[in-house]
Symmetry: C2
Subunit: 170 residues, 2 copies
């Protein structure tokens, strides 16, 4: 049975929730990485991702300029990196230098792949919407990469306050 | 380290993945329920959900008519119901009658709440986009409801082929 609740209270029941990392790179500049919780597949022919990216973020300004980004599923080993990426701004911090996040060159975009992620998806910006207070950007996936370790598992946000963990089946 | 892969192969590394149930109700008709994997929060002021809803689905036609729906986080106890909802069409099946899914009356919309879900969100349609092959509908959340059982946990899609399970922290 249910009881009416504040929306914020009801959202506390959403965990574990997926989190992705988004990389981007300004022309001639250093790459940046951001943690994004609002993410979903948005099309299958062609494959697309939709992401909620804060308008004030450095990532948003880069993507608006380059129309390119990479979506990565972080692995369980990357909790500290995701926490750092999600709580610092690339405007004043080189997050790759600060974290030592391992990168690989992408096939088709300037943004880097994350070598320790479970999977990476190179995307080209195809649409942007603003239904509420956050830009929703949509990228067409133009290349994909998986980790050579087939046992590597995805990291999740498991509670409010940036608690990150792997999960196992019941 | 990474290797390039087909997009579909890379998506096989996405699990566990969230799934939601979406209820809707045509004027004077029987309610329907659908399973949706493409779902995310899309705004925080006001709170909104974005959902990828197949254009040919009965749910899509109902929501286009009523502009109302409910998003529910299914609980671990609801795996069989979610599987049924996700593999049958409401055009030819009364899924509530077939499954015995327990409902409660919503506060502000005609679509029913799911009494055994972890949380329910009543939504009013505010936008629709079509970046690729699937309509993305956006609903403003106008009321929320949580289960009285605080220990009830959310159900996930844990592998391709409609495998559903609860998860526990690592």
């Amino acid at each position: 049975m249910l009881r009416e609740a504040k929306i914020e209270e009801a959202f506390e029941r959403k965990y574990p929730e997926q989190v992705v990392l988004v990389t981007s790179c300004p022309p001639g500049g250093k790459p940046n990485v951001m943690a994004v919780g609002w993410a979903m597949i948005a099309s299958s022919e062609p494959w697309m991702f939709a992401l909620g990216i804060d308008e004030g973020s450095y990532t948003y300004s880069i993507i608006r300029g380059t129309s390119e980004f990479v979506v990565a599923y972080p692995s369980e080993n990357m909790a500290q990196h995701v926490l750092f990426a999600g709580t610092h701004s690339g405007r004043d911090t080189d997050k790759f230098a600060a974290t030592g996040l391992a990168v690989q060159k992408a096939s088709d975009v300037s943004a880097p792949l994350l070598a320790d992620a479970v999977a990476n998806f190179e995307c080209r910006l195809v649409a942007e919407y603003r239904p509420g207070d956050c830009p929703i950007i949509v990228g067409k996936i133009i290349a994909a990469h998986v980790n050579n370790d087939p046992h590597l598992k995805r990291l999740y946000t498991v509670a409010k306050g940036y608690k990150l963990s792997g999960v196992r089946l019941l």
